[in-house]
Amino acid sequence: MIALAALALASSFWLLLDLVSVYTRNTATFGVASFEDRFSEFRKTLAPQTVLGYLSDNPVNDPSNQSEFNLTQYTLAPAIVKPSIDERLVVVNYHSGTPDQAALRARRLVPLHDFGKGVLLCRNDAR
């Protein structure tokens, strides 16, 4: 029992140190807080029943694609965000300094309002 308790305690302490060390080293801005900050201005303009398309400049196979889409949905709720551009309004989540205009034109997306911080609202002229 004593050995079991000692092992349990050591594991718990070790994992706690691990957790603290990871969090104190972590300086990345990715996460809910950064998305809430980036999308806050845009969210104020949305009606609850809005359905938006979604486009990102992440490479297709980038593992962060799915999580960024989910975070966008979480931030913009109760608007519904769909993982395609087949909607009249499309929110563009871009990471470069300026949105890629050529890529937008190729998809027939017309910028309506740039909210800054990588958030752009577009109209889909193909719809």
């Binding site: 029992m1 594991s11 809910v32 029943q49 979480y74």
Partner: protein, 489 residues
């Protein structure tokens, strides 16, 4: 305001638990048991009240407050006015418990709470499932107002729109009553469930097997960092583990105190909230009913079957009916079950899927929990040293717990083989969480059957007379010469 709301929810649950098992006025193990049990009962009932109010009257904070106040006041009045009657839940007899074991438990609890707090400070919105599913739905319920049904829209397949609403409902209820979307609501709910599950395990084993076993189980569960972190991540697996543990622990207590059929009522209440928490709750409900039936028919008198099952079913019925209503009226079909029958048959025919699933389950036995050494091996070694012993009176409860866990694992194994198209990813992202749902119940089973170790050296008790005479014997006396002294002159 959020904390007032959470406190009222907990107080409602505690009052219902106290109404069922009135506690003596002094602080005791009985109180710890009720404090822990009240957590899940209160949250379960409050989430049902919120959802009913939303469906019947729409998203009106005033009506919700009135509806909630009536339920809460009724529960608190009945619970607090209940006179102490029936049994008092106390530590079972067992070997003496050394003081340092309590110290170790408190230290592990301090580490667990610190880990929870550190995680919650760093990620207050929780992890992936929290912001992709549970808190997202809570936002839709709260922010969506009249359009709350958008939370279940099939246009957001990633949010699993068919998932039940216990967690989103309780969080949205706190936000609605507080009129503010505070992130402290989901954190507080997660904290209550995590600590509640640990408290329930410790108190249940304490009542059934004594203090040493209870403290041992408590140290192991509190040191299971995966379990504590899963709680802090605000996933629904820890609430699910709470309801599984509560149901099984209450059924064990039912067998120990067979004349007190209120344990079956409480077990039914807890079991009924499992399908309202996660879809696996349906599997649990089927498993526990089948296991209980088998255990009673095999080891107990058939006469107890009717009264126990009747009370269990009556208590589980309201929340099960609400979940069924939600599933039939609002929720779209589950994505796994919406697949074609021919695809599912093809999955079953692939032998590799069986092997991959089996490998995943065996590996998990050694990897789960986040311990420095594989916990499966450690518990195996512990068993080798203390061995198992099931007393005759414990056969029915032990069979109930083990059969339920076995049926759950078999059911989950079958789900992995039959349903997910990408079985490897599915195993990687979900198997440890499913194991954590069963982990507290598994520890309940383990410490129910393990022999309690003798940690304090026993000394024979002496009477005063014995002590005096022994002291007299030990008094220093001049040694008698072995031979008479020799006169030299």
């Amino acid at each position: 305001m959020t904390f007032v709301c959470i406190a009222l929810v907990w107080l409602t649950g505690f009052s219902i638990a106290r109404f069922l098992f009135p506690t003596p006025s002094r602080w005791s193990l009985h109180s710890v048991f009720l404090f822990s049990l009240g957590t899940g009962l209160g949250i379960g009932i409050a989430s049902c009240v919120y959802f009913l109010s939303l469906v019947l009257f729409g998203p009106s904070p005033l009506i919700l407050a009135g509806f909630g106040a009536i339920v809460s006041a009724a529960a608190i009045l009945r619970g607090m006015s209940a006179k102490s009657r029936g049994i008092a839940l106390e530590w079972a007899a067992g070997p003496a418990t050394p003081g340092y074991l309590t110290g170790l438990l408190l230290l592990t609890a301090a580490f667990a709470v610190t880990m929870f707090v550190v995680h919650s400070l760093e990620k207050p919105h929780g992890e992936w499932d929290a912001w992709s599913i549970w808190n997202l739905k809570a936002r839709f319920l709260f922010r969506g107002s009249e359009r709350w049904k958008n939370a279940l829209s099939t246009q957001m397949p990633n949010s699993h729109p068919d998932y039940p609403l216990l967690l989103p409902s309780i969080v949205a209820m706190c936000w609605t009553l507080a009129r503010a979307e505070s992130i402290s609501a989901p954190i507080a709910v997660a904290f209550l469930f995590t600590l509640g599950a640990c408290g329930l395990l410790i108190s249940s084993i304490g009542i059934l097997r004594g203090k040493t076993q209870a403290l041992g189980a408590g140290i192991v569960v509190l040191a299971t960092s995966s379990f504590i972190q899963l709680g802090a991540m605000q996933y629904a697996d820890v609430p699910m583990s709470f309801y599984i543990l509560a149901t099984l622990a209450l059924l064990c207590l039912q067998d120990r105190f067979s004349s007190e059929l209120r344990f079956s009522i409480a077990a039914g209440l807890a079991a009924g909230f499992a399908p309202w928490t996660k879809n696996e709750g349906w599997l649990f409900l089927a498993a526990v009913l089948l296991a209980r039936l088998t255990a009673i028919l095999r080891f107990d008198s058939r006469a107890v079957l009717g009264p126990q099952f009747l009370r269990f079913a009556a208590a589980a019925l309201p929340s099960v009916a609400l979940t069924a209503f939600f599933k039939l009226r609002f929720a779209p079909p589950n994505d796994l079950f919406a697949q074609k029958a021919s695809d599912l048959a093809a999955h079953v025919a692939v032998f590799g899927r069986w092997i991959i699933t089996l490998e995943g389950f065996v590996k998990m036995l050694f990897l789960m929990g986040g311990f420095l050494l594989p916990i499966g091996l450690i518990l195996g070694l512990y068993w080798f040293l203390v061995r198992f012993h099931v007393e005759e009176r414990d056969r029915t409860p032990v069979a109930t717990v083990l059969l339920t866990i076995g049926l759950m694992l078999a059911g989950e194994f079958a789900v992995y083989v039959v349903f997910p198209p990408d079985i490897v990813t599915q195993l990687n992202v979900s198997l440890e969480r499913l194991c954590m749902q069963l982990w507290p119940a598994g520890l309940l089973a383990f410490f129910l059957v393990a022999n309690p170790p003798q940690l304090v050296t026993l000394r024979p008790v002496r009477s005063k007379h014995d002590v005096k005479s022994q002291k007299a014997k030990l008094r220093v006396q001049p040694p008698k010469p072995a031979h008479p002294p020799v006169r030299l002159n």
